[in-house]
Symmetry: C2
Subunit: 235 residues, 2 copies
């Protein structure tokens, strides 16, 4: 099999720094983790919060700490640092080659999607952002790694896309319609969803938007690990 991950991100309109932080890291016992945080508000302050949260989680995962414990630790750190006045969403999606599962750890009221073959679940859980109290716990889902699995997570910029102009985005329906295409690549799915959101925001995103798509498929081609990054810069 092979795991494919694609990420697409845009900043809030006219804001140079995204309050969303997303990093992908290798796990010490094999596999990798995607860590996504969206700090409260936007711009520099939000960026500092989301970077603090993501780096706390990455550091703990690198030491072999379980995802759920890492999420709780990040929440407690944020609570302590900001006295409960600043929140952040947090998603961790881990491909754990030890258990052969994908583990989704969510402290994010925004939904996330799990597709397996014909079945598409749009998961709307009672998951709370981190940093607001001492009892915050993540919602954790564990799914076997098998060909055809697709997982989509995103920040609330996607959820609120189009609301300003009275045309809210139905992300789940967009995702389902995309999946009806012939075996779309994760990049195609991520670009489609982000493109829809930006279009509904009339080309001026009202918030930072990040979307991550993970897909498991049968091995195609060689056994080379690959990564690509594209960073547009204003210069």
């Amino acid at each position: 099999m092979e795991i494919q991950i694609a990420v697409a991100k845009v900043n809030k309109y006219a804001v140079t720094e995204s309050g969303d932080t997303l990093e992908v890291v290798e796990r010490p016992n094999g596999g990798l983790s995607v860590v996504l945080a969206d700090g409260q508000t936007s711009g520099r302050g939000a960026k500092a919060v989301s970077m603090m949260v993501v780096h706390k989680v990455m550091g703990l995962l690198a030491e072999g700490v379980r995802d759920g414990a890492a999420a709780r630790a990040a929440s407690d750190l944020l609570f302590t640092e900001k006295k409960g006045k600043v929140t952040s969403t947090l998603n961790i999606v881990s491909v754990d080659l030890h258990t052969n599962t994908v583990v989704i750890t969510s402290n994010n009221p925004s939904p996330f999607f799990i597709a397996r073959g014909e079945s598409v679940e749009c998961m709307q859980t009672e998951s709370k952002s981190i940093g607001t109290g001492r009892t915050i716990r993540p919602v954790i889902s564990e799914i076997p790694v098998e060909p055809g699995l697709v997982i989509v997570i995103f920040t609330d910029g996607m959820v609120h896309a189009g609301e300003r102009v009275g045309r809210p985005m139905d992300i789940c329906t967009s995702f389902k319609s995309m999946l009806e295409d012939q075996d779309p690549s994760p990049q195609a799915i991520a670009d489609f969803l982000l493109g829809e959101a930006v279009r509904l925001d009339e080309g001026r995103p009202g918030d930072d938007i990040s979307v991550m798509v993970l897909k498991v498929q049968k091995m195609r081609g060689d056994t080379v690990r690959r990564m690509t990054v594209r960073l547009p810069i204003n210069a």
Copy 2:
């Protein structure tokens, strides 16, 4: 402008775990850093070393520590942990949007390449691996971010490719020949160099091989940040 990064990695033949670790992280003041370490020997022990080194560097960079200081700190950590008996190579390639430069920090006897327009430099520096003593310092190069810049770094599996069968790889010549192509993408360059190395090793790499290509070009298309990851798994 836009920055494009591509990475390609293979394991030593018949070894399931790579001793090379490569991670890409966002910098707190804008831009990103690629951190690549190759721990001594191969397999699990080497992986633990290279992960320790890379995570030390990532943690420090996230706090705003300069690349050179982060490399020295990682060397001291490794020296202290392993009593000077285990070495690792370390490369940090940072796109610093504060200074608008690419900073290459190298503790790696393997060469690296810098191409600007027609000029291609194959840099063979007196750079030593980390962890062997208290006076280890990196070799640092700083280059303005401008369209046409291409930087290539790799681990010594590439340098030693083909030696076993008496046909060592001339990586610099391969790179130059590749650049004569019509504006090759970073992924095409990385795949070409890795493919050459694996071919010279007769399909059975004698060591872990990692190659990273960074390219700066004029902005093409939208302002979306993107990342893709491909992870082949044995299952």
